[in-house]
Symmetry: C2
Subunit: 177 residues, 2 copies
Amino acid sequence: MTDRTTIVLETIMSRKSVRNFTGEPVTKACLLALLKAGMAAPSARNRQPLAFVAVTERKLLDALGDGLPYTKMLYKAGACIVVCGDTSTDLQQGASDLWHQDAAAATENILIAAEAMRLGAVWSALYPMPERENHVRKLLMLPAGVDPFSIIPVGHPAGEDLPKDKFRAEKIHWESW
Amino acid sequence: MTDRTTIVLETIMSRKSVRNFTGEPVTKACLLALLKAGMAAPSARNRQPLAFVAVTERKLLDALGDGLPYTKMLYKAGACIVVCGDTSTDLQQGASDLWHQDAAAATENILIAAEAMRLGAVWSALYPMPERENHVRKLLMLPAGVDPFSIIPVGHPAGEDLPKDKFRAEKIHWESW
């Protein structure tokens, strides 16, 4: 294996859900790198049906956390990214049932990029939970046709969250079940 | 940025859908590295509801391709991985509407790992297309409760497929829409 291979595989294996942050801010340059990684994910028929809202304002991060019972880590996060599907455009014709998969791929890219940048991040689901979606929609003023999919708190890790070893040989079936 | 950051971000940006393969086989060791990367993806409430079928037999790869109109690259692929949700276990209680997101994250991890290993791979959707799902289910003898989500042909890239620049600044909204 080359160094490149080793480094990328190690980063994938060491990605963890970071829920404890130092409270330090996250720069716009860092967020932009994460967003670029998100946009580089594949999409069904290359429709690229996603849009992203990046939030750094303290008050707005706190207000988002207030209405999301499982995303209270927003109070200490330096920023967050909301991954959305933009179904208002004709991009979605014929692929309307696949944009959630595209949004999940973009979310995962952002998480791996954050790990590579020694930032912490965690995937918090909004879809398919209408109460959570509506809370985010209202605060971020999402227009009709733009649907929030996930919210990713981002920050500097406090160091308490560690990767899990989730490898289970019995989950692999060779040639057929 | 450290070397590690640069290398991982470059790998994410250079990942592409590889549809043209040399026809060379893919070793079991390589497939295992891809599967480990897939299992390292996050899952809702850490339920880890996925299972994987890895196929290397020429006849089976061809038979899979015969019934999948958009996955004919299987004929030249050295292997494929089918990402499945295992809803037969109690893993799924309370998270049954989220396993597709977990499967998408695992699929994306496998694609990035393949790029890092200088292999080629492409995400081909099975869910939610019952005809495709049934074809794969039958050939791989998937039991009831195990649902195929995606099929990922893997091989040595012929060099024809290049990454796309999908960055669009207008898809980023700062603080709110």
